[in-house]
Symmetry: C2
Subunit: 204 residues, 2 copies
DNA sequence: GAAGTAAGTAAGTAACTACTTGCATCACGG
DNA sequence: CCGTGATGCAAGTAGTTACTTACTTACTTC
């Protein structure tokens, strides 16, 4: 791998674990397996390195889509939530650290929020489609329910490690549980009550 | 105020803003209006000061109660959520910072979680009472719904500043909106629809 | 007024941190 | 074979940080 990318990767790891102040150029260089001087020659300064890091991070954050034409809302939303949650969990230390430094370095947290912000809009649009199709009740408070679901994913990714019994068990079924509660809050009927055909795959 | 408490208060503020590494003994001393040497004479070391700080913090975190005999669930839960959310918002920088340092100093975040953990149990018990009274549907997923509501409060307190449009507007009405969605998810009827007699299940 | 105690002041120490400089090494193309 | 550019290495600089030491000041109590 390119030296620049190796340093960026190392910086990401070290930053996630130790924060900006704790992520010393020495540690980053060791983690990247390069000389500390190389780091300065490549990026100029620690601050510049972190700017590059944030840019690189937002550049390659995937955004999970939701189908334009909902067919099986429960399954579709569960898969979507699983993907979003997995992504958040993979980056959980990074998210926590950047949030913890909002006061001193807001840019980092703002970068981190682009993904979730976008995800929230995607989900909102999807649910509005469900409403207009008559699949979801038309008196549901969509923005609030979406905020709650997104917060649940966020909280799960970030806090489950510290307070495991505050979250649904087992971990692997959390997304489907969140989605079912979400659906009920918005008056979305489970598939088997809507369609003439029944479930072939009864999950639980 | 006692010098010890003045230092503890200052430490809390400075820590919330700058994190453990950034909260230098010098800054804390200035903020407390005492000499830096006094700080060391009082607590011995920076680490010991922070231990004392966490202890003091959990010692005086209030826990909002919920009535033993529910009368008006919507009002009661809304008031409770407002209180919990207010408390979280007041400490939002502190919560963020301690969460951001979980990897390096887990104790701080664990202390911060005691409150929410306890709050979650209180809410769960309350909802179970609603269920046994027939006010809430008996097929609702209480633990998951509670997790989602608590996450919503947590997320609101912590992230609203960075992504305001991810949360219900206006800020002041967020608690009541969360509660309404929560109630619907658990099949709790608004007060006016609840007759003295219980009707058959699966209304929606 | 003596004695004790809590606080301030000034100065210093050892370790660490971001960053620089100067020089050696090595791969590669002409 | 020679130059060039990327990298490593050793050393150094200036600033910061936790913590210490030695001394002074002010207030209380006997």
């Amino acid at each position: 791998m390119d030296i620049r990318d190796r340093i960026l990767d190392a910086a990401k790891m070290v930053y996630a674990q130790h924060g900006f102040r704790g992520a010393t150029t020495r540690l980053i260089a060791i983690e990247a397996g390069v000389n500390e001087v190389t780091l300065f020659r490549t990026f100029g300064s620690k601050a510049a390195l972190f700017e590059a890091l944030m840019e690189a991070h937002v550049a390659r954050s995937p955004v999970s889509p939701l189908p334009d034409n909902p067919v099986d809302p429960e399954r579709e939303m569960t898969e979507w939530c699983s993907a979003v949650l997995r992504h958040m969990r993979e980056n959980n230390a990074l998210i926590r650290t950047s949030f913890g430094e909002i006061e001193e370095r807001p840019e980092a947290a703002v970068s981190m929020c682009e993904g979730p912000n976008c995800a929230g809009r995607i989900l909102t649009d999807y649910v509005l489609r469900l409403q207009s199709m008559g699949i979801a009740a038309d008196d549901g408070d969509v923005p609030t329910a979406v905020a709650m679901l997104m917060s649940a994913l966020f909280g799960d990714a970030i806090s489950r490690g510290v307070m495991p019994n505050g979250f649904p068990q087992p971990e692997s079924e959390a997304p489907s549980k969140y989605v079912r509660v979400f659906m009920r809050a918005l008056g979305v009927k489970p598939a088997r009550l809507r369609a003439p055909v029944v479930r072939a795959a009864a999950g639980d």
